[in-house]
Amino acid sequence: MTEKNIVNQIKQLKQIKPQKDWVFSLKTDLFKDEAKESFVFFPLFKPALACLTMFTLFFGLFGFAQTSVPGDFLYPVKKIAEKGQLAFVSQENRPQNSLAMADRRLEELIKIVESNQVKNLATAINEVESSVSEVAKNISRIEATSSSPIAIKNIVDKTKKLEFRIEEIRALGVVIGGEELQEVSAGLEVKVLLSDLENRTLTEEEEQVLDQMKKLAEEKEYQKVLELFFSEFDKKEEIKQDIEQEQEEEEETQEIEE
């Protein structure tokens, strides 16, 4: 047998090969831990830097989200941030907080209307309506007797402003619900009024009017309550103030003459 023959025989062993799928899976296995390592490398070995980056990204994201409007990609982030803040708001501050939120929603709606973002309009309107419901809910929970009169006056004023702004947008042709706001804010005014009257010393006639007002308030006829107040109490109050003013003016004139 020649050397050539032997070599040819040997070369036949080249047919011995590994299975292809085993070859592939071994290669994958060899490097799979590298992907894990490089993934965990960052937080594991540089915790301070990782934390700093995470915080920056986190707050940066919230920062960018602040200018977003309904329909934007980051809008949910803005809502989440607001919900988070809500957790720190006490029960008595909720009406104020919900009024501020409703204002924000209105701002967003105005932005969308002005920039003609038709596709985001429906979402924005919904957001306004939900926020107005929230305001109404929080206001209806206010106890006229326990809250300070100044705080209540503040809330009533802000609610009126909110109603006014909603009316302005309605005038542009945008259909917004939230009719309950008027009723609720009127209800609050009436509550405050009745509580105030009860603390006064009233004549028998005035007591009767107050009873009438209370009955109307129970029936949610807030407008009639207010009308009754203006016709019976407020007019008298007006006359009283007019008389006092006249008296003051007379005194002044007398002083000058002297």
């Binding site: 050397e3 032997i6 062993l13 071994l26």
Partner: protein
């Protein structure tokens, strides 16, 4: 070290090692298989070879002739395998034949009887002779590369190769006479 930079360095090393893997996986598998004649064992030893190789390569990818390094790992793992099996030790490695050349019953089907005959003849030779034949004629490594793996000079390697072929010829002749 900046993690992004580290990641790209690792990515680079991975690519280079991948190339080495692609080039040598079949050769090292065949090398091991011829000696252990079991697909499963050959796969295990091969896996371990490349795993060890990758661990070393990660730390130092400047090793010259990394393939030689892989062959040496594979060769040593085969030896360890037989030591664990409780077969006769080969001391020194170069002068003694590896025993247990008969494949298990379940493995016989993997290669044809003709190939099995050639394999059996080959593995009856002493380890150095087997290796030099496999590396030069099957793996097509030039003498210089074979010399590097064996850590011998080129001249010495050629001598070993010549003697290996002679020994194989004798082995085949012995078989032929037996069969006759």
């Amino acid at each position: 070290m900046c993690p992004t930079l580290a990641k790209s360095f690792m990515g680079n090393k991975q690519k280079k090692f991948s190339k080495i893997y692609d080039q040598y996986i079949e050769k090292i598998y065949r090398f091991v298989f011829l000696k252990v004649s079991s697909q499963e064992i050959a796969q295990d030893i091969c896996s371990e070879t490349f795993l060890k190789g990758w661990q070393v390569y990660k730390k130092n990818n400047k090793i010259k002739n990394f393939s030689a390094f892989l062959y040496r790992i594979a060769r040593n793992l085969v030896i360890d395998h037989y030591r664990q099996k409780g077969k006769k030790q080969f001391i020194p490695l170069e002068s003694v034949a590896i025993l247990d050349t008969n494949p298990g019953l379940e493995e016989k089907a993997i290669i044809s009887s003709d190939l099995e005959e050639i394999r059996a003849n080959l593995v009856n030779l002493k380890d150095d002779y087997q290796n030099v034949i496999i590396w030069h004629y099957l793996d097509d490594l030039p003498i210089q590369k074979v010399a590097e793996i064996m850590e011998k000079s080129e001249g010495a390697t050629r001598v070993v190769l010549h003697r290996a072929l002679t020994a194989l010829k004798q082995e085949i002749s012995k078989k032929d006479i037996k069969q006759a």
